[in-house]
């Protein structure tokens, strides 16, 4: 067994080995601290109503994130604008704690005119970045909560022939702010052939429109063959075509999660039926990477743009206390307005004074100043 593998298993060589210092134990120290601290992850789900988003989320994390759900009728939906609903759940598995926040976006794509339905969503994403920037630049940084959106599942309807104009527009609007993972919903509507065709179509359109979806990093050369193979399979399956379900069905003498049709049972966790397991695997094995890309790419982009634009900066570009309020341009406008008002007041005072003087002046020029 190699040293590296031994370390992985939490052992290390006999400490009495000559020449052994012991800092090879450092990863274990980091491990211990990480386990104690736990992890945070925020996942956003976007897609029209009825694409099975909530069911899928519940399936992914084996929990019921929406226990008291009431599905509104069409009449109620008309008046609604896009809402942002964030639910947080703490999941613990083998001592590792994950604080998972799922941000739902009901109302997306529901209105007759969906022209502006994503500005709310974008504002939310930016808001979290702004909040983090503010916290990061502040004084008390020990307990910063990271609510930035680490990943966005975008649900594509299986009923069309590819991406809809709304899909394209939305993904282009957020691909520089968040990791976008396109997902084909309710994949049991399609046969395998239709599925392949749809996937190819979608990938072509993503290419055509220059949409930057999240790319799984290639496996490192020192990973084992299994992992490399798995990464290859995952990469080849994007976009994932998924089916979600929280019902247990009896199939072939076993209880499985699935959907019961007269013609058969669609098993959620059967890789031959749909890509659910692949989606889950991708999410879990790349959770760390998703966070990293959010921090190193999307957040840093936001931060540098933000700092270049405004906030109160000294000449050295240090953020003193970033304005979490009106934009600097607006601030200047306010200032200009105030100054103009002050000037107007001054002029009024001058005129009043002059008028007063003219009253005193003995039959002076009858025509005073016309204001």
């Amino acid at each position: 067994m190699s040293q590296a593998e031994k370390i992985k298993q939490g052992q290390f060589t006999n400490p009495e080995t000559p020449g052994y210092v012991g800092f090879a134990n450092l990863p274990n120290q980091v491990h211990r601290k990480s386990v104690k601290k736990g992890f945070e992850f925020t996942l956003m789900v976007v897609g029209e109503s009825g694409l099975g988003k909530s069911t899928l989320i519940n399936s992914l994390f084996l929990t019921d994130l929406y226990p008291e759900r009431v599905i509104p009728g069409a009449a109620e939906k008309i008046e609604r604008t896009v809402q942002i609903e964030a639910s947080t759940v703490e999941i613990e598995e083998r001592g590792v704690k994950l604080r998972l926040t799922v941000v739902d976006t009901p109302g997306y794509g529901d209105a007759i005119n969906s022209q502006d339905c994503f500005s709310t969503i974008i504002a939310y994403i930016d808001d979290q970045f702004e909040r983090y920037l503010h916290d990061e630049s502040g004084l008390n940084r020990r307990h910063i909560v990271d609510n930035r959106v680490h990943c966005c599942f975008y649900f594509i309807s299986p009923l069309g022939h590819g991406l809809k104009p709304l899909d394209v527009q939305f993904m282009k609007a957020i691909h520089n702010k968040v990791n976008v993972v396109p997902v084909i919903a309710k994949a049991d509507t399609l046969t395998l052939r239709e599925r392949e065709r749809l996937k190819r179509r979608i990938l072509d359109e993503i290419d055509e429109h220059g949409i930057k979806i999240y790319h799984l990093p290639d496996a490192e050369s020192d990973e084992d063959e299994d992992f490399k193979e798995q990464t290859r399979i995952l990469k080849a399956s994007i976009p994932f075509a998924v089916v979600g379900s929280n019902q247990q069905i009896e199939a072939k003498g076993k209880k499985v999660r699935g959907r019961l049709y007269p013609w058969g049972v669609v098993e959620v966790e059967n890789p031959e039926h749909n890509d659910f397991l692949k989606l889950r695997t991708m999410l879990i094995t790349h959770m760390q990477d998703l966070q990293e890309v959010t921090q190193d790419l999307h957040y840093e982009n936001f931060r540098s743009e933000r700092l270049k634009r405004g906030g109160r900066l000294s000449s050295h570009g240090y953020v003193l206390s970033p304005a979490y309020g009106p934009e600097p341009e607006e601030m200047d406008k306010d200032m200009i307005l105030q100054e103009k008002e002050a000037e107007l007041r001054r002029m009024q005072e001058m005129i009043t004074k002059m008028q007063a003087q003219m009253q005193i002046k003995p039959d002076g020029a009858g025509d005073g100043q016309h204001v």
């Binding site: 992985k8 090879a24 491990h31 590792v96 798995q230 999660r257 966790e269 890789p271 094995t285």
Partner: protein, 325 residues
Amino acid sequence: WPRVPGLGHSGSGSTLLGYIGIDTIIEQMRKKTMKAGFDFNIMIVGHSGLGKSTLVNTLFKSQVSRWSSGWGGEHKIPKTVEIKAVSHVIEEGGVKMKLTVIDTPGFGDQINNENCWDPISKYINEQYEKFLKEEVNIARKKRIPDTRVHCCLYFISPTGHSLRQLDIEFMKHLSRVVNIIPVIAKSDTMTPDEKNEFKHRVRKELETHGIEYYPQNEFDDDMEDKNENDKIREAMPFAVVGSDKEFQVNGKRVLGRKTAWGVVEVENPNHCEFALLRDFLIRSHLQDLKEVTHNIHYETYRARRLNDNGGLHPISANNTQESNL
């Protein structure tokens, strides 16, 4: 590599899986940290002749310190306190560490040692400033190089009596900006009884003067940490002996010092507390030393800078200092 179950080969839709695989995140983190490598910066302070360099070499089982008996260099005492940092990359078990040893020759060696800790204090704060500057940059580096001092080993002379005035002044001033680990140097000068008495006296003095050495009481996260750290605090300062020479004892090769009356074995817990220091410093608290530096000392520095004059300005020197010229 721990596989998330169910992918790839379970064609028959196996039994209901209740396992998601969240604990594999830990493995991802470990891989990431191992790939990135670690930086560790250790400063050694004490007047000359206390075996500082030898001890550091013994700790890391490599010639990482400037002066080492193998180099045969001249041990000239400089006229002022100098700060000399030397870096080495050492590897063990697939883990790479960039170890930087910061030596402080001249400390405590002058006739008048007043404020001789100022250059040291200035160096430490300069590293905080460097890090801060990188952090507030608009276009930030992905991984900011960390030159901050994670640990300061302070060498106490084994007089057997008590701490010297300089020891107290140094530790009082610096324990608020850096993690200080006091060690009793060349402890083979004392018998076990003398050692225990001395340690006890030193600990009392540190307490009297309110000197919080690492691991500091106030930073214990939870009961588990507190219990572990209490035991360590009770055993500190560690009375150590360093050596880079090997001798044969009872058929084994051991690091030690050979005298006419026997061999002092460095790694023998009955002879000295080197092994305790090494385990504590490297095997269990290395990461914590870095975290306390980052989360506490650095943040304190940063908060002070943010509050100064209502903002950040380029810094020339944050401390007044008089050199011992």
